[in-house]
Amino acid sequence: MQIIGPDSLVFGVDDVPACHEFLTAYGLDAHDYTPEKGGHFLSLDGTGLEIRRRDDPSLPPALKTGNMLRMQVLGVVDQAAMEAVAAELGKDRQVLRLADGSLRTQDDQGFELSFRVTTRRPLDLPAEKVNAPGDFGRKPNQIGVWQDMPTKPRTLSHVVLFVPDIEPAVAFYRDRLGFRITDTFTGTGPFLRPQANADHHTHFFIRTPPYMQGCEHLAFHMGGPTELMLAGSKMIKAGYESFWGPGRHKFGSNWFWYFKSPLGCNVEFDADMDTHDDDWVPREAPMGAEAAQAFLFQHRDKWAPSGGPKPGH
């Protein structure tokens, strides 16, 4: 199955203007937005979030748990890939064909799914470059950081779900939709990569009781660790609250910084994730603080060593 990953995540929220405030501060651009109806919040390649009111009749049904995630829109490479999804899922469930060309169905847990030929734009942007003795990534005179350098999320990276019945959930994504398991936290759940995406994961599942079903967090890719640090620092300065980070995960190697949000889930900045192909041999480790990150820091206000003896003393 030539699935690329989430093009869009649809939420039905309690407070649309609060989401607008948060997501624009996070760096997404609002499109077709009104405080009454909500709108789209897009990253540089056009992937992003659709935010509507919880009671918007155009939304698919809500999860029973109150979680605000209403649907995942998965992008596939072309029409042939759409037909392959329709044929496979049509074997045991209703797959609707909508007027806009998309497919609509549900996974085995009741998470709403939509498939469309991806609308993401290819990005022609350099990654953050690093200089080191032996390998100079930047040209002479090219500087590595400045205070107001752009820190725009580039693309929707991944979604993490609280999943009650995890074995069938994993089987659905792996066996029906062709996702590869890249790594697994024993007892918690697997990281999943769709076939048309080299990223370490576009999905991660966490085993939970049924009353927790929903979205645990979502993340966008940044241009590199410096952008991530700068973007997160701006959030803190503006009064937004960190949940976890900054740090660097072990599985996936991605830098992370999570912020709480009015979407009822954490919203993460990530950067520099590993990519894989089918030669990769999945790893497994028990979930815990040691396995979850290589290192973890906490933000503090800017500070400089100063106040020493005055010149001339």
Binding site: T65, G66, M68, Y211, M212, G214, Y240, G264
Partner: protein, 115 residues
């Protein structure tokens, strides 16, 4: 008794968080129905607890009728602290007893200052 704020600084239906010397987490004060309710800013979802606002003082859900943890959307009853929806179902917030003195200042009750 530690003074947190003046009642007048806290509009009906509003919530604010306060740092309290000697307490590792903030204290959330919610004014509702003419009363003030104090809770530790300490979501019981994970061991060790986590602070709950998505930005400074943003402790309530959209309708303003529940305290919400904005990490994973848990809702807590403002009066009882019980989680009514989300990841902490069956758990509750830790109450911080408050008094409002004659001058209208919201203060921690003695007991809390010893913990």
């Amino acid at each position: 008794m530690t003074r947190l704020c003046d009642l007048d600084d806290l509009p009906e239906g509003g919530a604010r968080g306060f740092e309290v010397p000697g307490l590792a987490c903030k204290v959330i004060v919610v004014r509702r129905g003419g009363r003030v309710h104090g809770w530790r800013d300490f979501c019981p979802h994970y061991k060790g607890g986590t602070p709950m606002a998505w930005k400074r003082d943003a402790y309530l859900n959209g309708a303003g009728d529940h305290i919400a943890c904005h990490a994973h959307g848990a809702w807590f009853d403002i009066e009882t602290g019980a989680c009514v929806q989300g990841p902490c179902l069956g758990k509750r917030l830790i109450r911080v007893p408050l008094t409002v003195d004659e001058a209208g200042a919201v203060r921690l009750r003695q007991r809390e200052e010893r913990t």
